[in-house]
């Protein structure tokens, strides 16, 4: 049992990572990784929605019939996104001003839907919760890394404005790597997104091949 959870976690973070293995959710990945902070913000918001919707789908999986499952999954993801959006606007308004733009975009991300279909619809509640959480964390990590690469190359900074997202205590994360105005602009424009993602993807494949791992691109495994 414990090794199964370990495998779910490893899959989400590395082996079956939403961005670097399954290549899902490319739209927010490209749009929101102009800086490490933006990538982290989008990733965290997505992780919250994925965890909540995995939990809900796994709880209701006995009632959702095969024929209408996709509309129900989309309904659940959209409801969670709207709920997070309203609650943050009302009670975490400063954070909402920074993240608000990202939140509505989560509905258009196919990664949550893919995990609901491939995992939460078939598995018990707790493994689904772990899968949603770690797939979400894996997604957040991937977006932060792509954002960091694009930000260092394009703007010469790392985690700029992180204190606006995480609070004043995180001012120490804001770094300047290169002197001002030396950045290569293309990195933070749309083509830079494809370049950075492609190079990082190749890097992950190389690491996997070195470690003697077979490259697995799809599929969820069952638990129990």
């Amino acid at each position: 049992m414990a090794s199964d959870y370990k495998r779910i976690m490893q899959d989400g973070l590395w082996n079956n990572n939403g961005v670097f293995a399954m290549m899902l959710g490319m739209c927010p990945t490209m749009a929101m990784t102009t800086s490490a902070t933006n990538g982290l913000g989008m990733g965290l918001a997505t992780a919250v929605v994925m965890t909540a919707s995995s939990l809900l789908v796994a709880s209701f999986r006995g009632w959702i019939s095969q024929e209408v499952r996709i509309p129900v999954f989309i309904l659940i993801v959209a409801a969670m996104v709207t709920l997070v959006d309203l609650a943050m606007n009302a009670w975490m308004h400063e954070l909402y001003k920074v993240l608000g733009l990202f939140i509505a975009l989560i509905v258009a991300n196919c990664l949550p839907l893919a995990r609901l279909e491939a995992f939460a619809a078939k598995e018990p509640i707790f493994p689904s919760l772990v899968d949603g959480l770690f797939m979400g964390i894996g997604f957040a990590l991937a977006l932060t890394i792509i954002g960091a690469v694009r930000e260092i190359v394009g703007s010469g900074t790392l985690f700029a404005d992180a204190s606006l997202l995480l609070g004043p205590g995180f001012k120490f994360m804001e770094m300047r790597i290169l002197p001002p105005d030396t950045g290569i602009l293309i990195a933070i424009l749309p083509p830079g997104g494809f370049l950075a993602t492609g190079l990082l993807l190749a890097g992950k494949r190389l690491l996997d091949i070195r470690a003697g791992k077979a490259i697995v691109m799809t599929g969820a495994h069952s638990v129990g």
Binding site: N38, F60, S65, V68, A79, L83, L86, A87, W91, D161
Partner: protein, 203 residues
């Protein structure tokens, strides 16, 4: 007959129950959050107004003194917030819309009774992070350079970025964003000139 139709009916019932259930959940969330969200929006408006109209200029809250002026060509209205002191209008503030690189840029412009700029602030934008977002006061003080200027200072044909023959610096790597902002501010100054009489009426 009925045996063949029944499965479809069941799926319809399942789907509609989920829709009803989550619809109710969202309606409930909306009910709980609506008042707080309205309050936050009012706070945001108040914040942006205090940034473009110094508090010394009014004895009444400008957020409460509103005139709406229709703009015929855009078929929309501009809401003008007026600061009054001892019954006289001392300053006005209204929202501007400029078009930037990533879409619409919303600004708040504050002017004194003579049409001099008291302050401009970016309220909302979708400009490229690290490039065009320098119009935001959090990122750079670029936007404060307009304070004290008016439609004749600099002269109207100098209300442009340097690249277009004007007198304002663009920032490195971005021209479209400052061009949009400066154009919007100039439009706001012209709007004030045209509607000055109506805006200065005390009531």
């Amino acid at each position: 007959m009925s045996a063949r139709r029944r499965p479809a009916l069941i799926h319809a019932v399942i789907l509609s129950s989920f829709c009803t259930g989550f619809g109710l959940l969202l309606a409930l969330t909306h009910q709980i959050t609506a008042a707080d969200i309205r309050l936050r929006a009012a706070e945001d408006l108040q914040n942006s107004l205090t940034q473009v109209i110094p508090p010394g200029l009014h004895d009444k809250n400008p957020a409460a003194n509103i005139v709406t002026i229709p703009i015929s060509e855009a078929s929309r209205q501009v809401t003008v917030f007026r600061a009054t002191k001892a019954g006289k209008v001392t300053a006005v503030a209204f929202e501007l819309r400029g078009s930037g690189y990533g879409g619409e840029i919303r600004l708040m412009l504050g002017l004194d009774a003579e049409g001099r700029i008291l302050g401009v602030r970016t309220l909302q934008h979708k400009e490229t992070p690290g490039l065009g977002d320098k119009i935001d006061l959090i990122k750079s003080d670029w936007i404060t350079r307009f304070t004290g200027l008016s439609l004749n200072s600099p002269p109207p044909d100098k209300w442009k970025v340097k690249k277009d023959g004007g007198q304002f610096d663009q920032f490195s790597g971005a021209t479209i964003t400052p061009r949009g902002v400066i154009g919007a501010i100039r439009g706001g100054l012209e709007f004030f000139k045209v509607h000055k009489a109506r805006l200065m009426e005390a009531n």
